[in-house]
């Protein structure tokens, strides 16, 4: 495992018209396994996630991604390229493929591009065999009502979104409110999964959350964001006691 720096934000600014919604001078992500990003509504958390994952473009600044000690400028990289170099995100607003069953979705995530060619009509058995073990593990770990059917609730779709991300075996995952809408037992499982992946496989995660109990319990380091800026970084203990955090967020 490398020094820990995975994402470096340099003078990242996002403006809409004259309004600055995000302004981060210098911040590094990935120094710990699981990091949290918290802040009041409108602080710019989702904007920041969107900027890193290039769903929206930067007004100014640069974002770099570190892969095998190589620094890659990802300020303008497409979603696809980001996923291929190992940066993925799960979605806050539920996203799914209406035509695909849960099993289909999982097979899709795992399919190597060699298999996805128009002349490969009989690739399915082989695809399934290769993916069987891994899919079986996930289906075992989480509970879906009908794995061979479609995700039938918002919770299942959310979970599917998270699992699809994980299956890409990314280096870094941005999770925007991953447990919102999940029933308690699935939330616990999701947390367990995050811990397992970061400890055993060297994956690193950034979680945006409003559920502070979850944040304190899971994150090793927390970034507090307000009015577009990252005001404070620290361990859960440090953040919990911090005056500014209390004034702008917890105290509310």
């Amino acid at each position: 495992m490398s020094s820990g720096k995975v994402i470096h934000l340099k003078n990242v600014v996002k403006k809409y018209g004259g309004r600055t919604v995000c302004d981060i001078k210098d911040n590094v992500l990935g120094e710990c396994g699981i990091e949290g990003l918290i802040g009041p509504n409108g602080a710019g958390k989702t904007t920041l996630i969107n900027l890193i994952s290039n769903k929206i473009s930067l007004t100014e600044g640069q974002i770099s991604f570190f892969k095998d000690d190589e620094e890659i400028d990802i300020s303008k990289s497409s979603l696809g390229k980001l996923a291929r170099i190992g940066l993925v995100r799960s979605n806050q607003i539920i996203q799914d493929f209406d035509s695909l069953t849960i099993m289909d979705s999982l097979l899709l995530s795992l399919a190597p591009s060699k298999q996805e060619r128009f002349y490969k009509l009989f690739g399915d058995k082989k695809a399934r065999k290769m993916a069987e073990e891994e899919i079986a593990w996930y289906l075992d770990f989480f509970h879906f009502n009908d794995p061979y059917g479609h995700a039938d609730s918002a919770g299942e779709k959310k979970l599917l979104d998270v699992i699809r991300c994980m299956m890409l075996k990314p280096k870094y995952v941005l999770m925007d409110e991953p447990t919102a809408g999940l029933p308690e037992d699935q939330t616990q499982k999701a947390i367990e999964l995050m811990k397992k992946k970061t400890q055993e496989e060297g994956m690193k995660i950034l979680i945006v959350e409003h559920d502070l109990e979850l944040i304190w319990g899971v994150c090793e380091k927390i970034h507090f964001m307000s009015e577009g800026k990252i005001m404070i970084k620290g361990t859960p203990e440090e953040i919990k006691c911090n005056e500014i955090v209390h004034k702008k967020y917890i105290g509310e």
Binding site: K55, G80, L100, L108, R117, L121, H150
Partner: protein, 303 residues
């Protein structure tokens, strides 16, 4: 078998293949192609020119034509497939119109309204009817292959990929898929299938005219697929049988079988009645059964 029915079945096979290709493009790939007759027509004309004017051997001409259509669709796709669905629709329609105008205006090459031919069957037997029967069989086999591919594709990695791009391109891209590239290649090879059948239509017509490639061809295929049902490739079969087969061949032969003598006035009106009914059928499907005749509930009970 009478030559009337040989021709009828040949056309039905061709149109089923076209509807199947449209199913592949629209229901699996999410691409709204209003220019089917453009690819069909380019292939039909090129094959005819290669075989008649350039005296190429039929198989070579066929392969060349399919290759050319693939490349043309690749280029067109690269240009238009990252636009919105209404744009793609209008651009493909514009493409088909350009092809028809070219066929009309490049008189030296295409013969324009005077037509170009004679395109013979690609084999030579003693009896012409035998030649045509073999051709019909080949068409049926090829159409069946297209249908089979379309039926199986949903459960292959490639099918899942294209469906994901159709449903939510951004989400698919976020899983690392090169969505635009895939769309372009998919469009190119499905248009090549359309081209294949366009070329194979030439020997049936024997003499080719620009009015064979009016936009009506595109719309008849669309109407058939929507009528039959876009959710499964069997909708393509049902749709073509319920429109082209029924109206172009079925009703006509039923009328003559019952010795109902239709005067020339009726004969002139019949295409109008037929197409007015097609229009009405399309409207009715949208109003009352949007998923078409062959529609079924999704697995898991969701609609």
């Amino acid at each position: 078998m009478s030559s009337y029915w040989i021709q009828a079945i040949s056309f039905v096979a061709i149109f089923i293949a076209l509807a199947g290709s449209l199913y592949l493009q629209s229901s699996i790939g999410g691409i709204t192609n209003f220019g089917i007759v453009g690819f069909f027509g380019v292939a039909m004309y090129l094959y005819t020119i290669f075989v008649v004017t350039l005296a190429m051997p039929p198989l070579l001409a066929l392969l060349a034509v399919v290759g050319i259509v693939f490349v043309v669709a690749l280029v067109l796709g690269r240009v238009i497939l990252n636009l919105g669905p209404q744009s793609i629709l209008v651009a493909t329609l514009a493409f088909a119109t350009i092809i028809r105008h070219l066929a009309t205006v490049l008189e030296g090459v295409t013969g324009a309204a005077k037509g170009i031919g004679t395109v013979k069957m690609p084999w030579d037997f003693e009896k012409t009817s035998d030649e045509k029967i073999l051709f019909m069989v080949v068409l049926i086999v090829l159409a069946a292959i297209v249908l089979l591919y379309a039926a199986k594709i949903k459960k292959t990695p490639y099918g899942r990929l294209m469906l994901s791009i159709k449903d939510n391109e951004v989400l698919s891209e976020s899983l690392g898929k090169a969505t635009l590239n895939h769309k372009v290649i998919y469009f190119a090879f499905t248009c090549a299938i359309i081209g294949l059948f366009g070329a194979l239509t030439a020997p049936i017509y024997t003499y080719i005219f620009p009015h064979f490639i009016l936009a009506d061809v595109t719309f008849v295929v669309w109407i058939a697929l929507i009528l039959g049902g876009r959710m499964s490739v069997w909708g393509a079969v049902v749709g073509i049988v319920a429109t082209k087969f029924l109206f172009d061949f079925g009703i006509e032969s039923a009328l003559s079988a019952f010795q109902v003598r239709m005067g020339p006035a009726f004969g002139a009106m019949w295409p109008n009645i037929k197409l007015a009914v097609f229009g009405a059928m399309l409207i009715a499907i949208f109003m009352f059964r949007p998923n078409g005749i062959v529609s079924r509930k999704r697995e898991g009970g969701q609609q």
